[in-house]
């Protein structure tokens, strides 16, 4: 545990080196020739992801690097692969999207790989200092990416809103970390998990620790867009470029959940283990947040005429379902969260891939402009429909099993709080059916408007076609062949609980 063992962090090294090479190439090449930068970034992400997969096969329990500041277990590997795939899909979308932009190609790719590097580090975080730096690397990259369309008022507005609220959330997070350190005297997560928290609860330090955890949850709640820290989501989702929105809705949210799971496991785990009364009140708090998040997201989405805003509200709703898994706080709950995120990866990125392509033609994100898509672009319509139905949780698609596992884990708790949360959650599912199906109805039942913008979209690039196919297949595979993915999620959840 006290070894440096820096070879363990090879995926991060690969990403860092390729990011620096890309930075160098970007400085050297003129505006219109950024293929070199793109290639460096692509190679970096692909090799880092493959290396993580390889590490996953040879992994024995949990290994540490950097004197115990960096850990690698099944949980980290699973998330690194998820982040790697997300980054690749987003890069394929950005290549398509960047063709419509005349400058800043190099910077866009650089920011993408910086954010990806932050996500890889997040998956291996073992102490609060690394946690904060890794999270800021992601968030600061996203501030710039959000405001990337610098001639677009909406994009600038989104960037300003994101940076102001994001900086506030970071301040809360940092203050929370300071309190946790003050209460326990250690920044290492496993110190909290092993002894710190349980020892301290009985003493006066317990109040400080709980206050610190509360502030930390505020900071992380912002990243995952949970009520009451969700106000930025629809505006930022609408204003940012579609590939960035896709990256935010999958990468940033998953990174927030990795940290939430690690912190909750380390700080609240010992309380739950020793059966303290505090544990049940934390459970009730998380249940309350989850319930409100589900209601806010799903009710807000009902009135949206803009597909990206709708997806923004729906992403708040999904954060609520994932929080239900956190509330369950056991192996079943964590497994459900991991399965849900795997399903969400293919689902939400497939939807955004279609959004990027359609936006290239219509220059709008209005739901009305998707009318007649089923006739003009049957394949895109199929991917979008399957994605939306999977988000809604229609069996037998991927999203259904995610929701099923989450509800099963919560109901198995058998408490009044758990039952009421499950009731609120199912209400949310019913409401979400309505607005997802409204979009599907537009796609298939409505005629494309006369002289409307919708034509057949041609010239879809090969990587983009691959993204669409993989997402479509992924949505079905995670719905029909649950077992292999389920066992991956179970292994990762066990690794998380083992600490």
């Amino acid at each position: 545990m006290n070894e440096w063992n820096i070879g363990l962090a090879m995926p991060e090294w690969i990403l860092a080196i390729s990011a620096l090479v890309a930075l160098f190439l970007d400085a050297r090449t003129p505006y219109h020739r950024k293929e070199g930068v793109g290639n460096a970034v692509w190679i970096g992400v692909i090799v880092a992801t493959l290396w993580s997969i390889m590490q996953g096969f040879g992994l024995d329990g949990k290994e540490y690097a950097f004197r115990g500041r960096y850990g690698l277990d099944a949980f980290s590997v699973l998330f690194k692969v998820i982040f790697g795939i997300t980054a690749m899909f987003v890069m394929a979308m950005s290549d398509t999207w960047l063709k419509r932009v005349d400058r800043g190609h190099g910077e866009f790719r650089l920011l993408t790989i910086f954010a990806t590097m932050g996500m890889f580090f997040v998956a291996s975080v073992e102490d609060f200092a690394t946690l904060f730096v890794a999270l800021e690397l992601i968030t600061v990259s996203f501030y710039c990416l959000t405001a990337f369309k610098r001639n677009d008022v909406r994009s600038i507005e989104a960037g300003i809103k994101y940076i102001v609220l994001g900086a506030l959330a970071s301040a809360f997070l940092l203050l929370g970390i300071a309190f946790i350190y003050g209460a326990t005297g250690s920044l290492l997560l496993r110190d909290l998990a092993s002894s710190g928290a349980a020892d301290q609860i009985g003493h006066a330090g317990g109040a400080l620790l709980q206050f610190g955890v509360l502030l930390t949850l505020v900071g992380l709640g912002f990243k995952i867009a949970a009520v009451p820290f969700q106000v930025w989501t629809p505006d930022v989702y609408e204003g940012a470029a579609s590939p960035v929105t896709a990256f935010l809705s999958m990468g940033s949210k998953a990174a927030g959940f990795v940290l939430l799971l690690k912190v909750v496991r380390a700080c609240l785990g010992p309380m739950a283990d020793s059966g303290l009364a505090a544990a049940s009140s934390w459970g009730a708090l998380i249940a309350l947040l989850a319930g409100l998040t589900i209601l806010y997201g799903n009710l807000g989405a009902m009135w949206q005429g803009n597909l990206k805003r709708l997806l923004g509200y729906s992403s708040i709703g999904h954060a609520g379902y994932l929080l239900m898994g956190v509330m369950a706080f056991n192996h079943a709950g964590f497994t459900a969260i991991l399965y849900y995120l795997m399903a969400y990866l293919f689902t939400v990125l497939g939807v955004f891939a279609v959004v990027v392509l359609v936006n290239g033609l219509t220059k709008s994100h209005r739901v009305d402009d998707y009318a007649g898509l089923g006739r003009t672009n049957p394949f895109l319509a199929l991917v979008l429909t399957c994605g939306l139905l999977s988000l809604a949780g229609v069996p037998p698609l991927a999203g259904f099993f995610g929701k099923f596992l989450i509800f099963r884990a919560v109901i198995a708790k058998g408490t009044v709080v758990a039952y009421s949360l499950a009731a609120v959650g199912s209400l949310g599912v019913v409401v979400s059916m309505y607005y997802y199906l409204c979009v599907v109805k537009r796609i298939y039942m409505h005629e494309a408007p006369e002289n409307g913008p919708m034509k057949t979209i041609s010239g879809i690039s090969r990587p983009m076609m691959a993204v669409l196919w993989i997402c479509l297949i992924g949505i079905f595979v995670l719905g029909f062949f649950v077992q292999p993915f389920m066992s991956l999620a179970e292994q990762a959840a066990s690794a998380l609980l083992a600490g």
Partner: protein
């Protein structure tokens, strides 16, 4: 290094946070008392046009504060902060290079410790200078062209 800190902070009691609360109390007392004193002792005058003017060294204000500045100023300010932080980081590192950490606490030998400190800073500076190279090549420091 952090081993020492852990020992220091492990046995804490609420009384250890007394200075924090005194500071908090002082901050509240100071800000409230200043407002209260000026409210109690100050003469209450109706506002008028001269009173509402922003005060700028006794000179009459010229123009509006909400004008647009060229983005170049912000660019230089951001780059300044970046390299300023670098110096803030570099200076204490140079002053305390290798000092203050007893042998055998984190590293076995003194050579290992110094090697580690040097390597850490070398990595940091390499990244920073690559960024600086990028900034120069992007002509961000070129006042005329930027």
């Amino acid at each position: 290094m952090d081993h020492l800190l852990i020992v220091a902070a492990r046995d804490n009691a609420p009384v250890d946070y007394l200075p924090v609360f005194i500071l908090l109390l002082l901050a509240v007392v100071l800000s409230v008392s200043q407002l209260a004193i000026s409210w109690l002792l100050g003469k209450r005058v109706e506002t008028n046009e001269a009173k509402d003017e922003p005060y700028e060294c006794g000179i009459e204000a010229d123009g509006h504060a909400h004008t647009r500045f060229s983005v170049k100023f912000y660019l230089v300010a951001v780059l300044f902060i970046l390299f300023d932080i670098e110096v803030v980081f570099l200076y204490p590192w140079a002053v305390h290079f290798g000092g203050g950490v007893p042998d055998g606490v984190v590293f076995e030998t003194r050579g290992e410790l110094l090697g580690f400190l040097f390597a850490e800073m070398a990595v940091f500076l390499t990244i920073l200078f690559l960024g600086w190279y990028w900034v120069v090549k992007k002509k961000a420091l070129d006042w005329e062209e930027a």
